[in-house]
């Protein structure tokens, strides 16, 4: 039964929305004929749409409250669908196989255009996983992450331009330079946390971009560097088509490598120290963890992936200029981590694929891209503040102990 008060509430919502969007959605000035068009039909759409939407919204909110209450009463806390899939080997193994086969066949099934988009998405998967170490695990809000991405890209472009070094040498060099810059940024911000850290890292990112933009002798300024070679295949250079596919497979391999490393780190002594640092800095130190060292390793390791991602980006586009490394990129990567689920590897992968692929395939709505981004984030924060797949901690089993062996 739908109560009258509910209908009244929704009516108010829809009236309010019609009023708010009236200037944008209804009035249009036709500059050719110099008349004002009144598009009343839009108002009807919005009215009906928001009326119905408010019902759905309140229903979902109620569901969420119900869930919270159950959790508080100590009743069974149902793990989310994603968590259940991750935990249950019977579902997880086949799912992984399907995803694996799909990933391997992708370039042969889909067009070159699609493959290129997928490469971008994979680069962002890698960046997301790297930033996840810094933000998701260690809890250090880094808004200048794109700087390390730029370091990697320019490392490949410049070292190749000046010294003719090959992709395969420069891929690890890019990672190492990223790490070096991570440590360079890490030192001055050791004492900062939260908002202060965010602002300093934001500044750092902008400084790197401004240097690249203005130091013409070094980085060729805003015009950037073009004709960067694609990776060679055992010394052979490939056609554009083949090398795109080759880059795709390199990216797949790098992503698997990243996932492997991040997974290992997460459940290691260092990984736990990062999480402890995120949870409570004071207690973390009081338990014998060196705060400075732990922060620096997080910055350094996070930046390493960004450096390698940058090299891949330069190799893929064969062109770098400062416009590719704006604060906007940092924010997208941060959104990937937050949306996917801080600290969760699978979550970050899903987040990256959604945030990079959706805008590509929804080109028709590209005007509304920012709007949809905003709505998506708000909805997420209201209904799933932990992200799509919230952080799952490892379950340890012990023999001969009652409750310990249970699988949650």
């Amino acid at each position: 039964m739908i109560k009258f008060s509910e209908i009244k509430k929704s009516l108010w919502v829809s009236l309010w929305f019609m009023f708010l969007t009236f200037p944008v959605m209804v009035i249009r000035v036709n500059t050719i004929e110099n008349v004002i068009e009144w598009r009343w039909e839009n108002m009807i759409f919005i009215g009906v749409g928001s009326f119905l939407f408010s019902f759905v919204w309140r229903y979902l909110l109620k569901q969420k409250e119900y869930g919270l209450k159950r959790a508080e009463e100590g009743g069974d806390i149902r793990p989310s669908l994603a968590q259940r899939i991750l935990r249950d080997r019977k579902i997880f193994a086949p799912a992984l196989t399907v995803v694996g086969i799909f990933a391997l066949l992708f370039p042969y099934v889909f067009s070159l255009y699609q493959t290129n988009i997928m490469i971008s998405a994979l680069i962002f998967v890698m960046l997301g996983l790297g930033l996840n170490i810094v933000v998701g695990l260690a809890g250090l809000l880094d808004l200048g992450y794109v700087a390390f991405y730029a370091v990697g890209a320019y490392a490949y472009a410049l070292l190749n331009y000046h010294f003719g070094l090959s992709f395969w040498i420069l891929l690890p060099v890019g990672g190492a330079l990223g790490m070096l810059f991570g440590i360079l940024l890490g030192f001055p911000v050791l004492r900062l946390r939260g908002d202060y850290l965010a602002i300093v890292t934001l500044g750092f990112g902008e400084i790197i971009r401004l240097i690249l933009e203005n130091w013409n002798e070094f980085s060729f300024g805003p015009s950037g560097i073009s004709n960067i070679p694609r990776p060679s295949f055992f010394g052979m250079s490939l056609s554009v088509h083949d090398s795109t596919i080759f880059i795709y497979y390199i990216m797949i391999a790098l992503c698997i490598f990243t996932i492997f490393v991040v997974n290992r780190l997460q459940d290691s002594r260092i990984g736990r120290a990062w999480i402890a640092l995120r949870e409570d800095e004071v207690a973390c130190q009081a338990m014998g963890i060196d705060k400075a060292k732990t922060k620096l390793t997080a910055f350094a390791l996070g930046a390493t992936w960004a450096g390698m991602g940058g090299v891949m980006f330069a190799a893929k586009t064969t062109f770098v200029n400062p416009a590719s490394f704006t604060i906007w990129e940092s924010i997208i990567i941060l959104c990937i981590v937050v949306l996917g689920g801080m600290g969760s590897v699978v979550g970050v992968i899903i987040g990256a694929l959604i945030l990079i692929l959706l805008p590509e395939y929804l080109r028709a709505f590209s005007e509304y891209r920012m709007l949809m981004f905003g709505i998506l984030l708000v909805v997420m924060m209201v209904f799933r503040p932990g992200g799509i797949v919230s952080d799952v901690r490892r379950i340890y089993k012990f023999e001969g102990s009652g409750g310990a062996g249970k699988d949650a």
Binding site: V261, R264, L265, S268, R269, I270, G271, R272, A273, I275, A276, E279, D280, V282, A283, C284, Q285, A286, M287, G288, I289, D290, K291, T297, L301, D391, R393, R394, I395, Y396, F398, S401, G402, G403, A404, K406, A408
Partner: protein, 267 residues
């Protein structure tokens, strides 16, 4: 009860701490002997927590000396050292306002305590060779053993934030024990516990002293617990030490009664 022949393991001399114009601690002398349970009491705002923060390295004391003499090792001055170094030297603490790692499991909280007694690094974690594996196994085993002793082994995989309040306090003790201290500092361990839990805590603290040979310095407002547990008691008020002695002496000390005026001391 340990006699006065036991060696002093913590010797704090003339400790002072200023916060701007506020003198939170003034010339405080406190010592703890091996296998002793010592209580530090005083009215709210007396400077007890500040005292803990000064000797565990969270604050750097303005003046005075903190000297430790761990059993079987040389004495050394530890004021001004970073908190993690102090912990590595064998002083471990709990917090008045619980500071657990909320989104980690109970077991992981204790595993963090093992951090300073283990050594595998990044490369070890990635390659996961035999040394790292066996160290990791040892961390899990030791942490679990501690939880069994504290009585939290039923909830190893629970998130720390989901534990009842009393158990959270016990988990803080377990985490502190995992760092292998020779002296355990407890900041109001019974706060928020019901009488039954307080009784169990009394027993637990005794067991830690007797079975693990760990000395204990505790801050507590629950006078019944303090009187029952402590070998000696120190009383501070407005940052100054106003009395010290055995529970019986403290109970009847006029200065203490005056400091606590209005508070229930004969419980």
């Amino acid at each position: 009860m340990p006699s006065l022949e036991h060696p002093v393991i913590l010797d704090v001399r003339g400790l002072g701490m200023n916060f701007g114009g506020l003198r939170a601690l003034d010339n405080v002398d406190i010592d703890v002997r091996e296998k002793e349970i010592v209580a530090l009491i005083g009215p709210n705002g007396a400077g007890k927590t500040t005292f803990f923060n000064c000797i565990t390295g969270l604050y750097e004391p303005t003046d005075g000396e903190v000297i430790i003499s761990p059993p079987g090792r040389k004495s050394e001055k530890i004021n001004g050292l970073k908190p993690n170094i102090v912990t590595a030297k064998g002083l471990s603490r709990t917090f008045q306002n619980i500071r657990l790692f909320q989104n980690m499991t109970v077991l992981e909280n204790v595993m963090i305590g093992r951090h300073c007694r283990t050594s595998s690094g990044i490369v070890g974690a990635i390659l996961k060779g035999p040394a790292t594996r066996s160290e990791e196994k040892a961390i899990v085993r030791d942490s679990y053993a501690i939880l069994e002793k504290i009585g939290l082994d039923e909830s190893v995989n629970e998130f720390a934030k989901n534990l009842p309040y009393g158990e959270q306090r016990r988990l803080e003790i377990a985490r502190a024990l995992a760092t292998e201290p020779f002296l355990l500092l407890l900041d109001e361990p019974a706060a928020g516990m019901n009488p039954q839990e307080t009784l169990e805590l009394d027993d637990l603290i005794r067991r830690i002293r007797d079975e693990e040979s760990i000395s204990i310095l505790l801050i507590e407002h629950d006078m019944k617990l303090v009187m029952s547990l402590s070998d000696r008691i120190f009383v501070v008020d407005y940052g100054r030490k106003i009395a010290q002695g055995a529970p019986g002496e403290i109970k009847n000390n006029p200065a203490v009664i005056k400091a606590y005026l209005g508070e229930d001391v004969d419980a």
